[in-house]
């Protein structure tokens, strides 16, 4: 310990500052190795992708509500061109492209980089009292690999035949035979191939990033910051990191194999004897279509918890801060999140109930799926119970965090019928599934991310976001997002399949629920309008927002122990020493309702006497 302490305090504080000025613009803002700059880069990039993913889905929603009618925006039709929009009407291929890319972009380029790349990068080192990530250069590399992966994905829209169009799940053999190449060149320059190459980049980036996060959390915790004193957010990021490190490589392997199938003519996922468009497929055969699904879901199920755990972490922080009391059941939260992470590796086949499984395997995966719902319930219950006895401030971040709870509740609870294989027979691949997971990722995760943005905005920019606009953004989003996703359950129950280009118009059983498509579409457009309030507020506040004090929310965790915004090296007075748990709010015997983690008892007592 001693040697470490010497090293820690051996850092001369002025040193860092003088160095700051020597950096060129490029090194400081573009190829920066500072975790905060990288976090901001991740944040801005992923927000742009989120917005782009939303734009894609808005085009789809038009087609779903008004199938076969020309888009009402002629300029857009012109921009998209005749191949995609023959006569102004969306082509089915293009609808499928939009669907596949919406899913891919939202998950891999939007939410994960925002939740893990931006929030994780920016906050984890601050919350554990470190000066930076364990491997700053690697950190920069992960961002740029992500950025390249994003560009590659975007580029895929422009190749002949368009982007990937076999769903974000890219099931084989469909993904193998869609827009295939007759020559190596066309095979390389086709949407699905580029999707695979893009995925390899994104996977690599995630792997590097999560190795960095895990190492940082394990190695760079400040003195006195024991495991049970870590903010819950850091725990969530730690488990997320492990999920990414262990779940992504199998998809990378699968990606390489599908790439081989497309480019080198192998048949990893192609069984013998396929006939496509009346012609026998001339491949060696002997592959397995289900192999792809196993490898894909082995990643993609843990991946959905990657989407939710950081969100839960953010919500926990915001709730503790705005109830002015410690989280209820901190330990059970921690154990649950670790258990959840572990379990998420053995439920993947609940996405494959209808692929022809026997009773034993099916019973196994149903059971694990039921088991995995329990830790989620424990986490949510602990968060709700944390409200009891609080002195709740309804700040904008708190509004989003509170709304997260019932919204995740709806999304999570609707996971139960899907997890019971017998009920899934009817519900599988209907809009019920779309409703289920959008409730967890959109009014769930997205709301948590909004909460996080409003909460840490002052930390990052040194400015406060406008409160009134924030409230408008919240209520508008809350109403319209339910308007989009609630009707999906009704359609799903009625048996309307997902990924239908015409929204189910062809089918009799969809007839009586078709008008809901219009409700959803108009809610989506209203939601979009409300987002402009947010975007406006966001940029206006960066330059014009009110300047807050260093700790505007009277928070306890270490990120608020730094100046706002934090300088290079984070803690100018040297790395902090931690004396207490993360959420010491309203401690009996103290005047002030919060005691920062880095204050010793004496300091806390002294501070308590100071007049505000």
């Amino acid at each position: 310990m001693d040697q470490a302490a010497v090293n820690y305090h051996g850092v001369p504080q002025t040193h860092a500052e003088t160095h700051d000025h020597e950096l060129s613009f490029w090194r400081k803002y573009i190829f920066s190795t500072d975790h905060k700059i990288i976090g901001i880069q991740y944040g801005l990039t992923s927000l742009c992708f989120l917005f782009f993913g939303f734009c894609l889905v808005m085009m789809m929603r038009w087609q779903l509500a008004y199938p076969g009618q020309a888009l009402p925006w002629p300029w857009l039709t012109k921009l998209l061109g005749d191949a995609r929009m023959p006569g102004g009407v969306m082509a089915p291929e293009f609808y499928n492209q939009l669907g596949a890319m919406h899913g891919t972009i939202m998950v891999f380029l939007g939410v994960v980089p925002l939740a893990v790349g931006a929030f994780g990068n920016y906050l984890v080192p601050l919350q554990i009292g470190a000066q930076d990530m364990a491997f700053p250069k690697l950190n920069m590399t992960s961002y740029w690999v992500y950025f390249l992966g994003g560009l590659i994905m975007l580029g895929s829209f422009f190749v002949p035949g368009g982007s990937a169009q076999s769903g974000w799940t890219s099931y084989s053999p469909l993904a193998n035979i869609t827009v295939p190449g007759n020559s190596l060149e066309t095979a390389l320059l086709s949407g699905q191939t580029i999707w695979l190459i893009g995925m390899v980049f994104l996977i690599t980036s995630s792997l590097l990033g999560s190795i960095n996060t895990i190492t940082t959390i394990i190695q760079l915790r400040a003195k006195g910051l024991t495991w049970m004193r870590l903010p819950f957010f850091v725990w969530a990021q730690l488990v997320t990191g492990f999920l990414l490190v262990l779940a992504f490589p199998p998809l990378e392997a699968a990606g390489v194999m599908q790439l081989m199938d497309r480019v080198a003519g192998t048949s990893f996922f192609l069984p013998s004897g396929l006939v496509v468009s009346g012609k026998e497929l001339l491949v060696s055969g002997g592959g397995s279509a289900l192999l792809w699904q196993h490898l894909f879901w082995f990643l993609a199920h843990p991946e959905v918890y990657v989407l939710i755990l950081p969100a839960m972490g953010i919500v926990a922080e915001v709730i503790a801060n705005n109830t002015r009391k410690p989280l209820w059941g901190y330990k059970s939260l921690v154990y649950s999140v670790v258990f959840l992470g572990f379990m998420s590796f053995i439920v993947w086949a609940h996405h494959m109930f209808l692929t022809g499984m026997g009773t034993a395997i099916n019973a196994f995966f149903q059971t694990t799926t039921m088991i995995i719902s329990i830790p989620s319930i424990i986490i949510l219950t602990a968060l709700i119970l944390s409200l009891w006895g609080g002195s709740i401030r309804f700040t904008v971040p708190m509004l989003f965090a509170l709304a997260f709870l019932p919204m995740f509740g709806i999304g999570g609870l609707t996971g139960l019928p899907l997890g019971l294989a017998t009920a899934d027979i009817h519900l599988h691949d209907t809009y019920y599934v779309i409703g289920h997971f959008h409730y967890v990722v959109a009014p769930g995760t997205l709301f948590a991310l909004f909460a996080g943005i409003y909460f840490w905005f002052p930390k990052v920019t040194g400015r406060q976001m406008n409160d009134t606009l924030g409230r408008i953004h919240f209520w508008g989003s809350f109403i319209f997002i339910n308007g989009i996703f609630m009707p999906m359950f009704i359609q799903g129950m009625a048996g309307v399949s997902r990924r239908l280009y015409d929204g189910g118009t062809t089918y009799l059983h969809a007839e009586h629920v078709l008008t809901l498509n219009k409700v959803m579409t108009h809610s989506a457009y209203a939601l979009a309008v409300v987002q402009f309030v947010f975007i406006g507020n966001f940029f206006w506040s960066i330059w014009r927002g009110r300047k807050p004090k260093d700790n505007p929310w009277d928070s306890t965790t270490l990120e608020w122990a730094t100046p706002t915004p934090p300088p290079h090296g984070n803690f100018p007075a040297g790395p902090p020493q931690v004396h207490r748990g993360p959420y010491e709010y309203s401690v009996p015997g103290y005047e002030k309702d919060f005691i920062p983690q880095h204050l010793s008892d004496d300091e806390a007592k002294k501070k308590d006497k100071e007049k505000p």
């Binding site: 192609l270 059971t367 039921m370 329990i374 609870l413 139960l416 691949d429 280009y501 089918y507 009799l508």
Partner: protein, 314 residues
């Protein structure tokens, strides 16, 4: 009843009740939990808002009642799992009917159609070979020179079955993964290339019975489309001659005549009261990969089979 409550399609199969029951019970559980939680949640945020409760309580909830609640939820989940879901699955994948009157049908999916093969009077499916596939004349590559293949009936997108008899459908696909979905039968099964996966069920209602339940009354003039709709009964004009015949489509002409004769309200139902849907993304035509399911009384089914055979002979 259950179907209406949940907004499910009509159930016309024997086993569907169990699926519906599970969906119902799990939703009851979800609803109770959600209402309980949300009530507590709203009460709590109202009671402990800053204005009413300026000083927070460091400890908060002191009981551990929630642990019991969580245990109860776990137990209820297990009950649904062990009580309904797992036994049902075991029935689904292993309790195939063995009665001699079991109907066997093969469905071969392709982009974007359902090819249906009946074994014919000999009860044995003819050999198929991908070398014989011809998109127009022989989409499944049936070998007519095989003795068992001579009498096989094949259709595209038209699945006919008898009511109240066990049915086994063997599912496979020529190209990509599809998913064979009969909403009213509560049957859904992915078709996987390289695999033959059987499903079994018993239909409990005929297409006509289903149509009766789906019938709606249309008031003229109407903006509703009458595509794919047929009249549910004969409608006669003032002179006694039938204008709209039961089971026939209704053209604009017919409507005009009806109105002229003072009939402004008619009952219509869907021509095909049950459908086959494709539930798995299978390419650009996925959305239109629709088939039709017709459920006959036994006598009508036999008649249909005979017609098909006669057609085959020609």
């Amino acid at each position: 009843m259950m179907e209406k409550l949940l907004g499910l399609p009509i159930n016309a199969s024997a086993h569907g009740v169990q699926i519906d029951r599970l969906i119902l019970w799990v939703h009851v559980l979800m609803l109770v939990l959600f209402v309980g939680w949300i009530a507590f949640f709203i009460y709590t945020i109202a009671r402990f808002r800053r204005g009413r409760n300026p000083k927070a309580d460091y400890t908060g909830v002191k009981t551990h009642a929630s642990s019991y609640l969580e245990a109860v939820i776990a137990v209820l989940e297990i009950v649904l799992l062990v009580g309904i879901s797992i036994p049902f699955w075991s029935w689904k994948v292993s309790a195939f009917p063995t009665e001699p009157d079991t109907v066997r049908i093969r469905v071969i999916a392709q982009q974007f159609a359902w090819n249906i093969q009946y074994p014919g009077p000999d009860g044995v499916f003819g050999r198929t070979d991908i070398k014989l596939v011809n998109e127009q004349t022989n989409p499944i590559g049936l070998d007519r020179s095989d003795p068992h293949g001579k009498d096989d009936i094949t259709t595209v997108n038209q699945l006919h079955i008898p009511v109240n008899r066990p049915i086994i459908i063997e599912l496979t696909t020529k190209d990509v993964i599809h998913s064979f979905f009969l909403p009213v039968m509560r049957v859904k099964q992915d078709t996987i290339p390289g695999m033959i996966i059987p499903v079994h069920f018993v239909a409990t209602q005929t297409s006509d019975q289903l149509r009766e339940q789906l019938a709606t009354t249309i008031q003229f003039p109407t903006t509703k489309s009458l595509d794919g709709k047929v009249a549910m009964q004969d409608y006669a004009g003032k002179d006694g001659s039938v204008i709209a015949k039961k089971g026939r489509a209704i053209s604009t002409d017919t409507i005009n005549k009806l109105v002229e004769n003072g009939i402004t309200k008619i009952s219509v139902g869907p021509r095909y009261s049950a459908e086959i849907a494709c539930a798995q993304l299978c390419g650009l035509g996925h959305y239109r990969m629709k088939g039709f399911l017709t459920i006959h009384e036994q006598a009508d089914y036999d008649k249909w089979l005979k017609e098909q055979l006669e057609e085959l002979e020609q």
